[in-house]
Amino acid sequence: MRAAPRTPLVLAVLLLAYVAVPLAFGGQDYVMSLIIAALTIGGIAVAWALLGNLGGLVSFGHAAFFGVGAYVSALLTLDAGWPVLPAMLAGGLGAAVASVATLPALRLRGPYFALAILAYAHIFKILAVEFESVTGGAGGLLSIPGFPTVLGLELGSKVGAYCLILTIVLAWMAVYAAIRGSTWGLALRAMHDSELATRVVGVPSTHLKALMLLVSAFMTGVIGAFNAHQISFLDPDYAFSGEWTVLPIAAAIFGGYRTVWGPVIGALAVYLVDQLVFKELMPSGHQLIFGLLLGAMILWSPQGLLPLISRLGLRSGEGGDKEGKPGARA
């Protein structure tokens, strides 16, 4: 209902993304690589935002799920001969299974949860190094199979990989939007400030949070698997790198993690500006900009960039759900 007047906008964006971008940049491998990397971060940012906004849980360890997804998918294709696309889904499932180990952390309050998940990321990384017989240890895995050709579209090409990650990210956004718009989404939103009140009307709040953690981990795992097959190389330091946590958080906070589009727009903006502008200006240490951005957003617009823009005049009706606005919903 609320989405109806926005349909043309969504269609225009889809057209732009699937047709205009490949036409414009298809020949420039470097630009396409950057966009693919930005969407990879955007995908994790959506998963992170789903957990943050709906589960009310801030995670500092999504690298854990990224890494597990990457390893599971890579190993299934390398050692068990799985085709790549099913293996990627299995990578997501693997990450979801790994997230079951983190469920005890749900009992912890906000900051403790955030750092407990970080501890899990460290533990997973150490395990990846130590179980050398399976994971190849610190040396990592080489020649991980690339993407197949589906319906004539060569997913292994830059444009193909772009279409694949774009589809995955859009699917995750759709999942995020669907959950947010459902009765479950209502209950999840209410849980932040009124957990007991939701429980006494029958909402199993801990179960719902756990479910969001599983969904978020699954999403992140699939993205990790995508990355492994795209660059065809994996080692523990890379797969469980803190960057898979830092960049998505900066992107989601910048774009606004309470909105569906925010995390992806944030990722595209932050990553592309970083790579195209700041990396040119200062070859090392340019990630400084992520820290500055994160700090500045927290201080001046913790709801993200979109609400900031809409506050400046462009009333969008979406986002800013936190602000009291009697009678604004219809």
């Binding site: 009765t183 209502l186 209410a190 007991l196 009140a197």
Partner: protein
């Protein structure tokens, strides 16, 4: 319907409830009275499973509740309100009821939500932000509405009439009687106002310092000298 057997509750050595044994029959409306700090709300918290009792047993509809989680008890048919209204934040009035119905009663029935909103005089406000857009009377009505949307068999009302003016109190009291008849509820009502208890409840139980000191018709209970001693001071305050 509800049976408490030697229920006690201690908070860090302080006894909030001591050895409370109480039975509530199906269809009954029980008034729960007593001075502040007598343990009335603690009793609601134990029945609705906010925390487990230190000792004793609670059975609902013939089955022991044991350590069942609070959300499970809602699904078994125990609805409650909070003394300080606790609307579900970020949601509209109607969304509040939708969540309660979907999770507490396990279904979606828009007609029934319409009926609850109508009964509680909230129909005009159903799209208002529940946490920020309601007057006190409406907040209290929403408390009752959330509990009703769960489709309870037992409804526990914690001072839903408190803080209202006399006329509003009378009108809302009437609404509660209608609601009880319409949905065939058993009710426990915490209330300070003796007059309200007289009109709503055929039976009253008085708690003082965590113990039941009287149990009977409001007339008999309020004549009890021990009750008068414990209760009048508070009522006059």
């Amino acid at each position: 319907m509800l049976a408490l057997e030697s229920v006690s509750m201690n908070f860090g050595g302080v006894a909030a409830l001591s050895d409370v044994t109480l039975a509530v029959a199906e269809g009954e409306t029980l008034g729960l009275v007593g001075p502040n700090g007598a343990g009335k709300t603690t009793l609601f918290n134990l029945i609705s499973g906010v925390f487990p009792p230190s000792s004793g047993r609670i059975a609902f509809a013939g089955r022991p509740l044991g350590r069942a989680a609070n959300w499970k008890r809602a699904r078994q048919g125990i609805g409650r309100t909070f003394q300080i209204p606790q609307p579900l934040h970020e949601l509209t009035v109607r969304e509040n009821l939708t969540v309660a119905q979907r999770f507490g009663a396990g279904k979606r029935d828009e007609a029934r939500l319409d009926e609850i909103l109508e009964l509680l005089d909230l129909a005009d406000k159903q799209h208002v932000d529940a946490a920020h857009g309601l007057a006190l009377t409406e907040q209290k009505a929403l408390e009752v509405g959330k509990a009703l949307a769960v489709e309870p068999r037992l409804l526990m009302l914690d001072e839903v009439l408190g803080g209202l003016e006399t006329s509003a109190k009378r009108a809302f009291g009437g609404t509660l009687m209608t609601v009880k008849e319409r949905f065939g509820l058993t009710m426990i009502v915490i209330e300070h106002d003796i007059e309200t208890i007289r009109t709503l409840c055929p039976r009253a139980v008085v708690l003082n310092f965590g113990r039941i000191i009287a149990d009977g018709t409001p007339e008999a209970v309020f004549r009890d000298p021990e009750v008068v001693r414990s209760y009048t001071g508070d009522a006059a305050a």
